[in-house]
């Protein structure tokens, strides 16, 4: 416990917090307090729920694909198109600028819509709502929402997806889960990409997975090379297992902190 003020004592903290609450409710002079109790992300949350319902009504499963720039998110989708064309993958691409990734996906044989976020560093439920409407996925199809390359902000924004996947590549360092805990805590699957480069880099897959599981014990893990093809089949097999549910699939990040 902190010897100066006892700030690390949880019981004391709660008492201080209650005292702070009481103090805050007392307005000064002619001023009055308006109790709002509104989440700053409520608009995004509302739209995300709307997306989730929209997808469920069409029996469409949406995957939110996240990771650093250059982790191989687009390459992974190209590999899915190559190994599992029967999945009928549709893609929403998120980047600050250019149409390059959507063009790559189209060349791989899938329909794709590009969202350019400009200065934005993540996709949000609103932009995804419009992209989904334009994409018009067939019932039973799977939509991949490839987020802007970033291990921070996308973790905060629910898009209405059913499944969250993080792509980590062996060139990035096996301590990424320690450095970006929010991202790794909020995912359903962790894909380790570029394993064909393992002989050339210092990266311990077991270490990376162990660190991710310390935050997220249920996370599914895959090791593959999106360009070389090793391990892609077992990832596709996992993807095929989604799609038969009729109720909206709510990923663990959206359940955490949700009202009971």
């Amino acid at each position: 416990m902190c010897v100066t003020c006892g700030c690390s004592d949880p019981k004391l903290n709660r008492e201080q917090e209650r005292a702070a609450r009481v103090r805050l409710r007392k307005p000064h002079g002619a001023a009055r307090m308006l109790q709002l109790e509104r989440s700053l992300l409520e608009k995004n949350q509302r739209l995300a729920e709307q997306n989730r319902t929209w997808l469920a009504e069409r029996s469409v499963v949406a995957f939110n694909l996240m990771g650093s720039p250059g982790a191989g998110k687009t390459a992974l989708l190209e590999a899915v198109a190559r190994f599992a064309p029967e999945l009928g993958a549709l893609v929403v691409e998120g980047d600050q600028a250019t149409e390059r990734d959507a063009e790559r996906i189209r060349r791989a044989g899938c329909r794709a819509i590009q969202i350019n976020t400009g200065t934005g560093c993540h996709l949000d439920a609103h932009s995804v709502l419009h992209a989904l409407t334009e994409l018009a996925p067939e019932p039973g199809s799977r939509v991949f929402l490839e987020n802007v390359g970033n291990l921070v902000c996308p973790a905060l924004f629910d898009l209405g997806e059913g499944v969250r996947i993080v792509v980590l590549s062996v060139t990035e360092g096996d301590d990424k889960p320690l450095k970006y805990p929010h991202m790794f805590r909020a995912c359903d699957a962790l894909v380790l990409n570029k394993i064909d480069l393992l002989p050339h880099v210092q990266f311990e897959p077991a270490q990376a997975f162990e660190r991710a599981r310390a935050l997220n014990p249920q996370v599914r893990t895959f090791e593959l090379s999106a360009t070389g093809g090793q391990g892609v089949e077992s990832f596709c097999a996992w993807l095929r297992a989604f799609g038969s549910e009729s109720a909206p699939r709510v990923p663990q990040h959206a359940r955490a902190g949700a009202p009971p």
């Binding site: 001023a31 308006l34 109790q35 509104r38 700053l40 905060l156």
Partner: protein, 97 residues
């Protein structure tokens, strides 16, 4: 949001709740608040941030515990925690005159 509720009034104080497990840094928020408040009813308002502790439910021992960071484990040693709270980012109240 403040505009919506306080149009035409002067906001003197804004109280925010930020959970300790929310990926939001109070200092960064403070920095941006001043800039964003320019030209709105909240211009010049005092910003108070109440940091709320995280709470987790241990899947192994069934006990609840406080969490101050994403890497904490239950006192029983387990990392398998279900997050109950700590990711809040909300506008609790505003003082207007």
């Amino acid at each position: 949001m403040i505009n919506e509720h306080c149009a035409g009034r002067t906001v003197t104080r804004v109280v925010l709740e930020i959970g300790k497990l929310a990926a939001v840094v109070p200092d960064a928020f403070r920095f941006c608040f001043e800039l964003c408040a320019e030209g709105t009813p909240a211009a010049g308002a005092q910003l108070e941030i109440v940091e709320l502790p995280g709470r987790g439910l241990c899947r192994d021992c069934g006990q609840e515990c406080d969490l101050d960071s994403a890497f904490e484990r239950c006192p029983c040693g387990s990392f398998s925690l279900r997050l109950l709270s700590g990711e809040q980012l909300s506008l609790r109240e505003v003082e207007v005159i």
